[in-house]
């Protein structure tokens, strides 16, 4: 079990969505949704604390592997997040990704918090800081309009270089 006390929030993204907490939860945990807004990835998640969590690429390889730390439907989902692909990204220590879902008037506030247990350089944080707004903007569009966004994106060059320098 991951010792979550050692992890400090480094990136927070908040978005308000015209939807219900249950729908937002479903969008985070069901492949029917992730395939559309999370660059064709499917999600496998065992619905309990300590359960396995995998984000899978369309060709079946795992992209992210982790464990369910908090499963509190439909308020909070926290998973540990170990990048398994691209290969060289396996050097990154696991981080925590927490989704908090709160009712806010007729809308839902979704707060994504990415926390780290080490002194992560900004160059490495830049991956999440460019990726999460794209992913969560697309999730919002999908839930509100039925259509995701179409955003092509690769990890920032400075992130890839900083990972190469990790020992």
């Amino acid at each position: 079990m991951t010792a979550i006390g050692n992890f400090k929030p480094r990136t927070v993204y908040v978005t308000y969505i015209a939807s219900t907490p249950e729908k937002v939860w479903q969008a985070l945990t069901s492949s029917d949704f992730t395939r559309k807004y999370f660059w064709d990835r499917t999600v496998e998640i065992e619905p309990r604390q300590g359960g396995a969590f995998v984000l899978r690429l369309p060709d079946g390889r795992s992209n992210v592997e982790g464990e369910v730390i908090v499963w509190e439907l439909p308020r909070q989902l926290t998973v540990s997040w170990q990048v398994a692909w691209p290969e060289e990204f396996r050097k990154l220590p696991e981080c925590l990704v927490r989704y908090e879902i709160d009712q806010a008037g007729d809308a839902v506030r979704l707060t994504m918090t990415e926390s780290h247990s080490w002194d992560v350089p900004d160059a490495i944080l830049s991956g999440g800081r460019s990726g999460w707004p794209a992913i969560l903007s697309s999730l919002k569009s999908l839930l509100e309009t039925g259509k995701p966004l179409s955003i092509a994106m690769a990890p920032p060059t400075k992130m890839i270089e900083a990972i190469k320098r990790l020992t």
């Binding site: 806010a104 007729d106 509100e144």
Partner: protein, 112 residues
């Protein structure tokens, strides 16, 4: 740039620092309502980048006083305002404005 509150009071009268439509807009930021802390003006930058019929909007709000209270307020405010802007542009309807009643204080760490 002036902004008025729903009750008609002046809430902003800020200088435009840079305007390069439709790519970049920079203005000063000083809330004028009496219940807002009296701090030196900060600065807001909007950057717009087109991508396949979509737009990436980046908002940078900086130049705050040390220990600024307004920083905490805008950290709660921008996500709601920008979420509603996105909903309005994509569906023709803004979000329910009652988010204001449910905003909790949240901590935004350095760089976030």
């Amino acid at each position: 740039m002036t902004a008025t509150s729903p009750t008609g009071g002046l809430s902003h009268r800020d200088p435009i620092i840079e305007s390069d439509p439709p790519r970049r807009l920079v203005y000063g930021w000083k809330p004028l309502e009496r219940d807002k802390p009296d701090e030196r003006p900060s600065r807001v930058t909007f950057e717009l980048a087109p991508f396949k019929g979509q737009t990436r909007l980046t908002v940078i709000h900086d130049e705050f006083d040390e220990g600024s209270k307004i920083f905490g307020m805008i950290s709660n405010g921008w996500p709601a305002v920008l979420s509603s802007l996105k909903t309005f542009l994509e569906t023709g309807r803004p979000l329910d404005p009652s988010w204001k009643d449910s905003v909790q204080s949240c901590t935004v760490e350095a760089g976030a």
